[in-house]
Symmetry: C2
Subunit: 204 residues, 2 copies
């Protein structure tokens, strides 16, 4: 018989938890609600995770890994599409526009922002992960911007670190506006503005 040894219950817990946390928040997402959603019992949950906070740690780690992997992937694709640093960065942002345009999720959101607004409930390891990811984006995009600035001097003096941060800022802010107004289109629009800001700044 088809042995269901490959149950991947752990992953299903993580998936369900993420979805529930994104709409209700972490504290309001009880272990009971998660296990009901997955269709398992409490014992199974605590077999995979020592505590609920242990799950939070795994969840944010998993989310961060996916996020940074996609950053890598899109960066590689963007550089393949254009060898000019500014153009490839604009293409990179375009790839994210494509991605969010195809978003079907009824209740989109970012786990980083969700956790950040309930930070009092998490240990330093979880909080450090949030910081790490934001810094990783900052450094990656700032390096890119420095290359772009070398090739296309900006028309105004500009701090490239905060300009790099602005991409994260636009992402996180767009999530809030998109959710509150229930209009997912906000996302692509805001990325488009960021892109246009770069074009004007570097005279593309």
């Amino acid at each position: 018989m088809a042995t269901r040894t490959r149950t991947n219950t752990r992953e299903r817990i993580l998936e369900t938890a993420e979805r529930l946390i994104l709409t209700n928040g972490y504290a309001a997402t009880s272990v009971d609600r998660i296990i009901t959603g997955v269709g398992i019992t409490k014992g199974a949950f605590f077999y995979h995770f020592k505590t609920k906070n242990d799950m939070a740690r795994a969840l944010i780690r998993h989310y961060a890994d996916l996020d940074l992997a996609r950053l890598d992937e899109y960066a590689t694709r963007a550089w393949a599409l254009s060898s000019d640093p500014l153009q490839s960065l604009l293409v990179f942002i375009g790839l994210y526009q494509e991605m969010v345009a195809g978003m079907t999720d009824e209740n989109p959101g970012c786990l980083f922002a969700s956790f950040c607004y309930e930070s009092g409930q998490f240990d330093d390891e979880v909080l450090q992960t949030l910081d790490d990811v934001i810094i990783a984006w900052r450094e990656r995009i700032a390096d890119w911007l420095r290359e772009a600035a070398a090739a296309h001097p900006p028309v105004r003096p500009v701090d490239l670190d905060s300009l790099a941060d602005m991409l994260t800022v636009v992402f996180e802010g767009a999530f809030v506006v998109a959710r509150s107004t229930r209009s997912p289109g906000v996302f692509a629009e805001q990325l488009q503005h960021y892109r246009q800001y770069l074009e004007l700044l570097f005279d593309a």
Copy 2:
């Protein structure tokens, strides 16, 4: 004895609740923690609010009122400082930069974003308030931008509604990055970028 005739207990509940919610989230902020923080009893809390959710409703309403009142105040001041629509808008953003520069709060945050990421716990009235405030900002800034665009034609075709949204986006996004990285300076930097984008776009 010095009885607390100077009661305004209701406001103190709201203040304490806001502070606690901003660090722990709504669900994790129990009524017990609030009353301990204020220094009152449970009876007093439920004398002022029928339910915890009733308090949430009052809190977001109060927050929205303050937010929109400040929007009005800063807009008036900005128009007083410059009669040119574009310049006054830039001054308006500058006033917000001033405000956030003087922020002493150890854990800054926006109640709208906090509630938005726990939306599953609130009724439609609360959620509608979030939407209302965002739409109010959009319309107010978009009108301003239309005046600015009439006087200073944008160097590129641009959607003014989403450009107006971008101010809210930058605010909300900056909160997330500032909190996660524990660097309140993010705020003024990001507003500066938004300002510079407008300058480039309208050729100021």
